[in-house]
Assembly symmetry: C2
Homo-oligomer: 194 residues x 2
């Protein structure tokens, strides 16, 4: 059975975007710097990480804000590009326009339903929860995440969208299972304790 | 010339104490868990890290809150115990009572003065800024920190004292120089870009 992995890039001070987000710059000021490891790195681990994690993954889940911010860049293929993995979007309302022949399924009856549908589509491979912060935290707090994969970017943003703003008072213990330092990001992988 | 190193333990979600701090439990709920790597670990790296960093260090700086919270536990020797490294406390007002024969110097004319005095005392060794959050951020924002040493503890606290709450909008770029994973903490060391 595949694992559920919450996988996201974060500045050392806990932000997943810079300040001053706009539709043209949904990642905010210098927010694209958070993804340099994926797109602008010569480090061999960084160059293979995305393709390897895509090949281990069968379906992806995100929140509506992530979808709305990203659809101008994604087109019909979604966040995994040519791999065209199915993307399940947790939302309250269906969007008016969706790209034809897209990988998108909109789920209006909650995170557990989205996970069930994603598992069915994933054929035993992993499910990647790609964010945003709110959806990731909902899955974490519901005890539905097996692993947390943080790409920790060596920068302090000071302001932006915090990853862990609403995670409540329940302490969640993690167990480090892999740590890889590269110049653009330190890749941290944790098992979530139950 | 010694380096100025801001050195502190932090949960993955950015807290340096748990919630509900009291005089008896200044680290808050389960906050002592943040220092398990130093006190309750069998991992060889953890067992040698404190003694090695103490031997490279010539003086320590902290804020007044850290001093007040810790003095019942420190006695006259301060945070480095038997090594008795001099500790410079940045404060607005002198305390009424100080342990006799203590390692403590109170500095009322600001962080730069405290650093100058610490450098004089350190005899060419490193200066450790041990926190709390506010003093560490003041030194970071003033451009006075050469290295940031974060002991990243694999737990989400949800609430507590945030390390990076007031760090403004200036992005501070860091360069990873050492990453060591242990079960109790992932030790991250960064050079601060100028």
């Amino acid at each position: 059975m595949g694992k559920v992995i919450f996988d996201i890039s974060m500045s050392l001070d806990g932000f997943i975007t810079g300040a001053n987000q706009t539709p043209a710059e949904p990642l905010g000021d210098e927010g694209e710097h958070l993804h340099d490891w994926a797109f602008n790195s010569q480090h061999p681990f960084n160059r293979s990480l995305i393709s390897e994690s895509v090949s281990d993954t069968g379906a992806v889940i995100c929140g509506r804000r992530t979808y709305d911010d990203s659809i101008p860049f994604w087109g019909p293929d979604g966040p995994t590009g040519a791999a065209r993995l199915p993307l399940f979007i947790v939302t309250h309302h269906l969007p008016r326009k969706v790209p034809p022949d897209g990988v998108y399924t909109f789920v209006t009856d909650g995170i557990e339903s989205a996970l069930q549908q994603a598992k069915k589509a994933a054929g035993g491979k992993n499910i990647s929860v790609m964010g945003g912060a709110d959806i990731g935290q909902q899955y974490m707090l519901a005890g539905l995440v097996d692993e947390l994969s943080i790409h920790l970017v060596p920068v302090l943003f000071g302001k932006g969208t915090p990853l862990f703003a609403n995670s409540g008072e329940t302490h969640i213990r993690l167990e480090p299972i892999q740590t890889v330092e590269t110049p653009e990001a330190i890749h941290l992988r944790f098992r979530v304790a139950r």
